[in-house]
């Protein structure tokens, strides 16, 4: 089995590029036999064929198919109209899922952008900037699964009176002896916040790096001029820096929104959605594999897509404008 899959992988790694190269050679050979005007018309499509074939089969067709499935019942045998959609917005459990996603959306995005911005501003003024930035960016490199394990250990709970082995409870009980150790992931009034903190820990580095690059692009002369006019550091930041980097903040925010809507791994690893921590992607997974309810699972996917469409249009507009310049 090991040998077989190794051989298969080697074949894929060398065979796929070789096959594609052969394909494009044949294409060029065939095309050059045609009339010149016909060549120009046909060649681009032949260069695009591999990509368009894969995209149609594995992205375009599935998206359309999922849209259709969302109007069908569990095993996709009967048309049931909007019933799945109605259930999402009326079922109590589903409403909790939606509430959780909304919490993630608002607080994760807000805190990540704010803390990222704060760190970007502060690191700009110290000598150990690179080291600090690398440290904070590091969680972006590891998997959400590993991050989930890391934080499950941080949140580990031991009853009051016994030594705490989870860092969070240990620090809080040391700082304030009257503090009751918390089961952060099991207490329904705080577990969502505990999960959101993990997301923030992972993504802040991302926000920081982009915002930091943007802050470095703010002309020094403008800031100096403001200081000479008697503006304090806070005024310089809010009146000069902030308005200039606003477009970047928008980009960071939309990117975070796209990613937080689909959040799955953190919840899957840390609580698996129990005790009111489920989010849309996790619920979808459960509808697929535990309940075999493919209609509902598709509807949840469509809901994600609908939530992302405004951001998608914004993206297309932005790239469209830039694309014309080339």
């Amino acid at each position: 089995m090991v040998l077989r899959s190794t051989i298969l992988a080697v074949v894929a790694v060398f065979g796929v590029p070789a096959g594609l190269t052969l394909y494009i050679f044949m294409v060029e050979k065939g095309v050059t036999r045609l009339r010149f005007t016909l060549q120009k018309r046909i060649r681009p499509w032949l260069w695009l064929t591999p990509c368009l074939a894969i995209l149609s089969v594995f992205l375009l067709y599935p998206v359309l198919n999922t849209l259709v499935l969302s109007f069908l019942n569990n095993d996709s045998t009967r048309f049931i109209g909007l019933q799945n959609y109605v259930r999402i917005f009326t079922d109590r459990e589903m409403l909790i899922v939606l509430r959780n996603n909304a919490m993630w959306l608002v607080f994760f995005t807000l805190v990540t952008v704010t803390v990222g911005l704060l760190i970007a501003v502060l690191t700009d003024r110290v000598k150990y900037e690179q080291a600090a930035k690398a440290l904070i960016f590091l969680p972006m490199a590891i998997s959400f699964v590993a991050a989930g394990v890391i934080w499950k250990f941080m949140y580990e709970f031991r009853p009051k009176g016994t030594p705490q082995i989870g860092t969070v409870n240990a620090v809080l009980t040391t700082l304030s002896p009257s503090f009751e150790p918390q089961a952060w992931l099991f207490n329904p009034s705080i577990n969502n916040w505990a999960l959101i903190v993990v997301g923030i820990w992972i993504w802040t580095g991302f926000a920081m790096v982009i915002l930091s690059a943007s802050i470095k692009g703010v002309p020094k002369e403008i800031m100096e001029a403001a200081r000479i006019d008697g503006a304090g550091e806070f005024q310089v930041f809010f009146r000069v820096t902030l308005p200039i980097i606003k477009p970047t903040i928008v980009v960071v925010t939309t990117t975070l929104i796209i990613n937080v809507l689909k959040i799955f791994d953190i919840v899957y690893v840390m609580t698996n959605g129990i005790l009111r921590t489920e989010v849309i992607a996790n619920r979808m997974y459960k509808e697929m594999f535990n309940f075999m309810n493919f209609g509902m699972a598709s509807t949840l996917a469509v809901l994600l897509l609908v939530a992302i469409i405004p951001v998608m249009l914004l993206n297309i507009k932005r790239f469209g404008q830039r694309g014309e310049v080339q």
Binding site: T6, A9, A12, V13, P17, I24, E28, P44, W47, L48, P50, C51, L52, I54, L55, V57, F58, L59, L60, P62, V63, T66, L122, R125, L135, I136, L138, P139, M140, A141, I142, S143, F144, V145, A146, V149, I150, W151, K152, F153, P163, I165, T167, W201, F206, I210, L261, D265, A281, M284, Y285, M288, S298, A301, I308, M312, I316, F319, G320, G323
Partner: protein
């Protein structure tokens, strides 16, 4: 005298900035401690992990062990999972590159009706949640007997990586100066020659960023592997194995800490050795579905 004044000046500047240092260093500690705690714990014997905090590890007597690592590699399928993660990630990184490069070349340097609209559609696909594709592709794979096979997940990751790969390479290849192409055409080169002799060599930095991003994305992926591989130990990558460990062992911290750290080794290595390419890739690709 001069040196003394230099030091005094440094101290004064440092003091004036002390609130900045305080806030920043606190944040750095908060960001470091979780990973550090995991790493220290992974090297402690089971009885100690479960009864005392990891920060006590530095008190005498110092008791460290690599037993946890040996255990998860041999018994908890982590050795095999490491191999599987490589088996999944390497082909899934290589496969989309040429496909995307062909498309990027056509989008940049060939004129055809519908070019811009088509490209914008691909930009749109960039943010489509991959959840939208799971059920139809799973059904397709089931009927082709591709579920639970590496081939299936390679193809899936290739498709999911394509829109971003095309976008990134098109930006780069589109930025190559036009003069280079004109002189090559005048020398009688055809499109294939230009693509392999001129475009690909120039695009190496972009391909490097793309490869690193795609590799890390696949390496760290859980959802796609869960769906198309279905958790069979023979094909499970490390992310799937670890999440199974979390569910079955619950508080088995001696396994979880070492397993998680094994899965972080390669990403950390990539991060520290290729930081520039990695950050460039992740910034450009953060909007990927």
């Amino acid at each position: 005298m001069k040196g003394e004044r230099h030091i005094t000046g440094w101290v004064i500047r440092f003091m004036r900035k002390s609130p900045i240092h305080l806030v920043l260093l606190t944040i750095c500690v908060i960001w470091l401690v979780p990973t550090l705690g995991l790493f220290v714990s992974s090297l402690r014997p089971r009885a100690l992990i479960l009864n005392t905090g990891w920060w006590k590890a530095f008190n005498a007597p110092l008791l460290f062990t690599i037993q946890n690592y040996l255990h998860v590699i041999q018994r908890a399928n982590m050795g095999r999972s490491f191999f599987n993660s490589l088996m999944i990630a390497i082909p899934a990184t290589v496969m989309p590159i040429l496909v995307a490069a062909f498309a990027a070349y056509a989008f940049s340097w060939m004129r055809f009706p519908g070019r811009d609209v088509l490209f914008l559609m691909i930009i749109g696909l960039l943010v489509v949640p991959l959840q939208m594709t799971l059920i139809p592709i799973l059904r397709l794979f089931n009927s082709l007997h591709l579920t639970g096979t590496f081939v299936g997940i390679w193809v899936a990751h290739t498709a999911y990586g394509l829109p971003f790969a095309i976008y990134l390479l098109r930006n780069f290849i589109g930025g190559i100066p036009e003069d280079l192409f004109e002189s090559a055409f005048l020398d009688g080169a055809n499109h294939v020659q230009i693509f392999y002799r001129l475009v690909l060599p120039i695009a190496v930095p972009a391909i490097a960023s793309l490869s690193i991003f795609q590799f890390m994305w696949v390496w760290n992926d859980l959802l796609v592997a869960l769906i198309y591989l279905g958790g069979t130990p023979e094909v499970a990558p490390m992310t799937v194995t670890i999440s199974n460990l979390v569910n079955s062992y619950g508080g088995g911290w001696e396994f979880l800490t070492s397993a998680a750290f094994i899965s972080m080794l390669l990403p950390l290595l990539v991060f520290f050795s290729l930081q520039r390419y990695f950050i460039r890739g992740i910034l450009a690709g953060s909007i990927k579905g």
